[in-house]
């Protein structure tokens, strides 16, 4: 609990609870400056994880028809068109007399596998757990679909899959225990099963330009820092790392990003904090309030029976 009150850069149950089983903490570094927006990550993820198709609605939001991360989309490529230069100096800066500058930001979003994960802390069944790789995974054989993890995620990642009841489902024979088709929550597992077999996650493997890089988190952080320095030296417009800082509100992301604009432009929270960071204080408040209820009601007895 105390560790949670002030998030640190180390997850709570890893590596210590795993002993010899513990593996290096694995993660993603998603470098948006080389993302070509092809969505191979979305498809490769669906193929591997057998995720249902997520609707055939055209959004008109540039080339993004996925919209957001959800139970049925564990990778989501964001597309943002901007009348801004890609570089602040050099060739791509606004040329005199040339056309308006234009850049097209693309970013493959994914579960952040937080060091302090709101979903994991909130899960009442232990379905969500921290694996030996330091990642955060839903155990589909445990999840009972209480849905508490959904609002507990500061990124809006984890989501409940509600498939419509099929017509031949028993009509409320056992209204409470009747099995719904799914009703569980889903999100990126960082391909836990593949990792166990020594394979890299499906999205990172497919990524044609290596925008999604998979590896040991420590190594990725070093790589990202170097990349940032290179881009800054080349005069890129607005490069920044997002989620690599172990001192941030979730103790750093297991899957972090190199962005070219403010996080919220990509649909990411600018300063995410794990809800549990405030939980000790919240428990005290709750206990005090409970005591106050007792005392208050006791006071009501002072006036006698009538």
């Amino acid at each position: 609990m105390s560790a949670l009150a002030e998030p640190t850069g180390a997850p709570a149950a890893w590596p210590n609870t795993y002993g010899d089983e513990a593996k290096p903490r694995m993660g993603f570094f998603t470098d948006t400056t080389v993302c070509i927006g092809c969505k191979a990550c979305e498809v490769a993820c669906k193929e591997w994880n057998l995720i249902p198709e997520d609707g055939l609605e055209w959004s008109g939001l540039s080339y993004d028809n996925t919209g957001e991360l959800s139970a049925n989309s564990w990778r989501h490529v964001a597309f943002v068109e901007q009348a801004k230069p890609l570089k602040l100096d050099g060739e791509l800066a606004t040329a005199d007399g040339g056309p308006e500058p234009l850049r097209w930001l693309m970013e493959s979003d994914v579960c952040k596998h937080c060091t302090h994960a709101g979903c994991l802390d909130a899960c009442p069944t232990g379905s969500l757990f921290r694996t030996e790789f330091g990642t955060v995974v839903v155990q589909e054989d445990i999840c009972n679909g209480c849905g508490y993890c959904v609002p507990a995620c500061p990124f809006g990642v984890i989501d409940k899959r509600d498939l419509p009841r099929s017509p031949d489902d028993a009509p409320l024979a056992l209204p409470l225990l009747g099995k719904k088709e799914d009703g569980r929550v889903w999100k990126c597992t960082l391909c836990y099963d593949r990792l166990k077999g020594g394979h890299e996650p499906a999205c990172a493997k497919a990524c044609p330009t290596d925008s999604i890089q998979f590896g040991e988190l420590d190594e990725l952080r070093g790589r990202a820092q170097k990349r940032l320095e290179k881009l800054e030296a080349e005069g890129w417009n607005g490069p920044r790392l997002y989620g690599e800082d172990p001192d941030d509100g979730v103790g750093g992301f297991g899957a972090f990003f190199l962005l070219l604009d403010e996080p919220e432009v990509y649909g990411l929270p600018p300063d995410p904090v794990v809800p549990t960071a405030q939980l000790p204080r919240l428990w005290r408040t709750t206990a005090l309030a409970a005591a106050a209820v007792t005392v208050g009601i006791a006071a009501a007895f002072l006036g006698g029976r009538e």
């Binding site: 080389v34 070509i36 927006g37 092809c38 969505k39 191979a40 979305e42 498809v43 669906k46 193929e47 198709e53 997520d54 609707g55 055939l56 609605e57 055209w58 008109g60 540039s62 080339y63 028809n65 996925t66 068109e81 009348a83 890609l86 060739e91 791509l92 040329a95 005199d96 007399g97 040339g98 056309p99 308006e100 234009l102 850049r103 097209w104 693309m106 044609p208 330009t209 290596d210």
Partner: protein, 894 residues
């Protein structure tokens, strides 16, 4: 690819995708590589990360532009003007690679006095015959040569313009006696030398002209030209990348030729990080021209005999054999092919069954066939893995043509529009076709996927890669190999007793392939072995050098000879890249002779030394007296750099030791194409067949030689400059879909990524026409009208042409009536005017109108289209027409 074939010798990409990482500048034009070849694009990104410039010149700002270090927006259909400007820039500023140009190209060659340029004839080259609407190409020849095809001219109508051009693969003749052009000026000063002709031809393509014609700024153009120049020379190289954004024009072949000229001037062919990378859209589209399913060629780019050719095998060989270079052995290639097909029946006495070959006309290409169908002349049609109902230009004409057939066989994974035309098409909706009135019998045959069969694809870099069957096809699903094999077997059985000479080609046809399994699947290995060929002892041949013209060798496709060397499937080699050099010579097998970078003799200077350490690739090892390097040398391994052929040398022997283009009769890269291309020896800017602009150079508006169908009611055209169709329309693909959608619109994981047809327009055009983002628009041409959701985006840049801002409309062409996601087919809008060399449709630049609202429904659709068309023709240039009035909110009034 006759442009590459004519310029360099072989109709294929000169380089391989991995080598793009060695480029100092990658110029992508006519291609949206990041979207349509994403995995290949990793090599461009590697180059970018190593500091290379990546320039994308394209009407649209695409995902490729987003990754480029420079994007220059030009109007669709102005590419030759742009590239011609680059040629002019190189020549004006002395930026060509002098020694390369003088020694390796035909720049010093002096051209016949009879030649005159478009600059002299207001847009026409010499030799134009307005009656025939074609050129007499004899005036384009090198000075001092007898026209090689003169031999052929003994035969009636056998003019060079007929025999060359079609999928030309190498400059066959040139009328050279032993490989060397007869008259040259190594100082490049002679007024009739290629270099000076080139200079005059492009003199008017100034930066200001380019800006006005293409709609970019002078600065943008200069930045591109300067990048190209400064990233060329001994120490540096630049590569061009193109795709169908170049080919699908009425000047497509010429367009690619312009890039070839630039790359020859800059010395970028045959060198690492250089070259021209042609990106093909289908898994084996290169393979399907090498082993052609094309009317005009036989395997290995051997010409199909023409109806006006009746001289037998000798005359054929005389016509196809070049005096110098590897086309000098055409007789061996042809005889070996005939032996592969008719085996023991093919003997020297009967011309190796040459007479069994059917004869072609000038044009029996796909769009000609469609017209024959419309006339009811074609009875039966087999469509295997294609979807012409929405994938071919003028989809409506294609569908109406299908309805005229007696029988149609469609082989595919899903019920595509071509199979469903009779019950689910815009014409059924409009009442123009009624199922109960269509006589066509339709067989839908479910096809096996590549996971269900063995076989090889030839990828975009000429690399044969074998795929192994992983699972058995289910139910009635079968491979094409199975289909054509069993079809042939049954046809042979039917005519087994026949005495009719017309059945001899069937009876004598070799058709013995081992089969396996319950379904009797023929062995693809055995077919590849036949393609590779055998000697008289039945030993697999190691390469095409071993082919003989005496009937002792058999080979189904001479350029693939070696793919089954040592009786092993070389295409199936899968040595991991980490166990070999980056050229990866042990992964698959590339034609020719497992070479990855073509003409790589040019990576060394005339003396055989690398031009620079940085660009070392293939060089002459004087100690071992042979060519060596990182790739299979594309040269006689032991031919010395200073080799000079004797006067009586023929074929490969006639190629000098410092002439790297071994397929060319003169061993030179052709800046100027004296033959092989029917619409001019040099590329010239012509306007697209449909253009809102006048040709800024000549009164000759469009390519005079283009193919068009003025009398075909089903293929009407937008009148030039019509106010009814004021916008430039271009069509394209998206990463998330594949061509006409047969493999993607029906696939949930892809359909959901781009689930609806949309049209991309600039906000100024949206304002002009009242289009709103996310709402509907109707796009119309003289052919038809379709509807699409509006994407208003600054990526669709307007262009300033001759001082006026003009708008372009972008349409992806993936949709149709069927599948998980449906929508208007862009090809319903396109027309069937073609490039004259290769009969490819012009779907990258045409004209259209766009209005807010949904398209008219039912019978009102053809009425609406006809009304618009009539107004356009009746009152060309007057006030725009009022659209059809309809009850619901269809096309609204302007």
């Amino acid at each position: 690819m006759p442009s590459l074939g004519t310029s360099f010798g072989r109709g294929g990409a000169t380089t391989f995708q991995q080598d793009l990482m060695n480029a100092d500048c990658v110029t992508i034009m006519g291609s949206n590589m990041a979207e349509n070849h994403p995995v290949g694009f990793q090599w461009v990104m590697e180059a970018r990360e190593r500091g290379a410039e990546v320039q994308h010149i394209d009407p649209r700002f695409t995902r490729t532009s987003a990754m480029a270090t420079r994007h220059v927006g030009i109007r669709a259909g102005s590419d030759i003007a742009f590239l011609g400007g680059v040629v002019n820039y190189i020549l004006e500023h002395d930026r060509w690679f002098d020694e390369y140009v003088k020694r390796y190209t035909n720049a010093p060659v002096i051209v016949s006095e009879d030649f005159s340029d478009t600059e002299d004839n207001d847009g026409l080259f010499s030799g134009w015959d307005p009656e025939q609407a074609q050129y007499d190409v004899t005036t384009w020849q090198y000075a001092g040569t007898k026209v090689h095809a003169a031999a052929g001219q003994r035969e009636k109508g056998f003019s060079p313009s007929r025999v060359k051009g079609e999928q030309s693969h190498g400059g066959h003749g040139g009328g050279l006696s032993h490989g060397n052009p007869p008259e040259t000026d190594d100082t490049l000063q002679h007024p009739r030398c290629v270099f000076q002709i080139l200079k005059r031809h492009y003199a008017r393509y100034t930066p200001e002209f380019v800006a006005d014609a293409c709609g970019c700024t002078v600065e943008e153009f200069l930045a591109v030209a300067e990048s190209l120049c400064k990233n060329s020379g001994p120490e540096r190289t630049g590569a061009f990348v193109y795709a169908v954004g170049w080919t699908q024009h009425t000047v497509g072949v010429q367009l690619i030729r312009t890039a070839a000229i630039i790359q020859l001037l800059l010395g970028n062919i045959g060198r690492p990080g250089g070259g021209i990378m042609a990106l093909r859209g289908h898994a084996s589209i290169q393979g399907s021209t090498d082993i052609p399913t094309l009317y005009n060629i036989l395997p290995g780019y051997l010409t199909m005999p023409h109806v006006e050719h009746y001289g037998g095998l000798d005359a054929y060989i005389d016509m196809t054999t070049a005096p110098g270079g590897w086309w000098g052995n055409a007789d061996a290639y042809m005889v070996s092919l005939l032996k592969a097909w008719w085996g023991a029946a093919a003997t020297p006495e009967n011309d190796f069954c040459f007479s069994y070959l059917p004869r072609i006309d000038d044009d029996n290409s796909n769009y000609w066939t469609v017209q024959q169908m419309l006339k009811g002349k074609v009875k039966g049609y087999i469509v295997a893995g294609e979807n012409p109902a929405v994938g071919s230009a003028n989809g409506k004409a294609n569908r109406l043509a299908l309805a005229k057939l007696d029988w149609l066989v469609v082989r595919d994974f899903v019920e595509i529009e071509t199979a469903a035309f009779w019950h689910d098409s815009p014409e059924v909706e409009s009442g123009e076709l009624k199922p109960e009135e269509i006589a066509t019998e339709v067989f839908f045959m479910p096809a096996a996927t590549h996971l269900e069969k063995d076989g090889s694809f030839t990828n975009t870099q000429r690399l044969l890669q074998w795929h192994f069957k992983a699972v058995e096809p289910k139910d009635d699903c079968r491979s094409e190999l199975w289909f054509y094999y069993h079809l042939g077997k049954k046809i042979k059985e039917r005519v087994a007793e026949s005495q009719d000479p017309r059945d001899l080609p069937i009876l004598d046809l070799t058709w013995r392939y081992p089969t396996s399994g319950e379904i009797e699947e023929p062995s693809a290995d055995s077919v590849l072995a036949e393609i590779n060929g055998w000697d008289s002892t039945g030993e697999a041949l190691a390469g095409y050098k071993l082919l003989k013209a005496d009937g002792s060798t058999s080979c189904g496709c001479w350029i693939y000879c070696g793919a089954f060397a040592e009786d092993k499937n070389q295409a199936a080699r899968k040595v991991p890249h980490w166990d070999q050099s980056y050229a990866a010579l042990e992964w698959g097998w590339a034609w020719p002779a497992n070479r990855r970078l073509l003409y790589n003799r040019a990576s060394a200077n005339p003396d055989g030394e690398p031009w620079s350490e940085r660009k070392r690739y293939v060089w002459w090892n004087a100690d071992e007296e042979k060519w060596t390097g990182r790739d299979t040398p594309d040269f006689d391994a032991e031919k010395k750099p200073d080799y000079v052929p004797p006067d009586d040398a023929k074929g490969p022997e006639a190629i000098r030791g410092d002439h790297p283009f071994v397929m060319q009769a003169d061993g030179l890269g052709w800046i100027y194409a004296p033959q092989g291309i029917v619409d001019g020896p040099l590329p010239t800017h012509y306007e697209p067949h449909e253009s809102p602009f006048l040709n800024p150079l000549y009164r000759q508006q469009s390519n005079p030689r283009r193919q068009k169908n003025p009398d075909l009611a089903e293929d009407p055209y937008n009148p030039p400059g019509s106010d009814v169709y004021p916008y430039v329309l271009t069509t394209y693909r998206l990463t998330e879909h594949h061509t006409a959608g047969g493999m993607s619109r029906f696939t949930p994981y892809l359909a959901e990524l781009q689930p609806q047809m949309f049209v991309e327009v600039h906000p100024d055009l949206a304002r002009e026409r009242g289009l709103k983002h996310g709402e509907w628009a109707t796009i119309s041409t003289a052919r038809s009208a379709i509807e699409a959701r509006v994407m208003v985006t600054d990526r669709m840049r307007p262009v300033k042409i001759d001082g006026t801002v003009r708008q372009q409309v972008g349409l992806p062409y993936h949709w149709g009536q069927r599948g998980l996601t449906t929508g208007g087919a862009a090809n319903d809008l396109t027309h069937m005017a073609l490039d004259p060399n290769v009969h490819i449709q012009e779907v990258k630049a045409l004209t259209c109108d766009i209005r807010p609202g949904r398209r008219p429904r039912g019978a009102r659709l053809p009425d609406f289209v006809a009304e618009q068309r009539e107004i356009a023709h009746a009152d060309n240039g007057a006030a725009p027409p009022q659209p059809a009035e309809t009850k619901d909110t269809t096309v609204s009034k302007r």
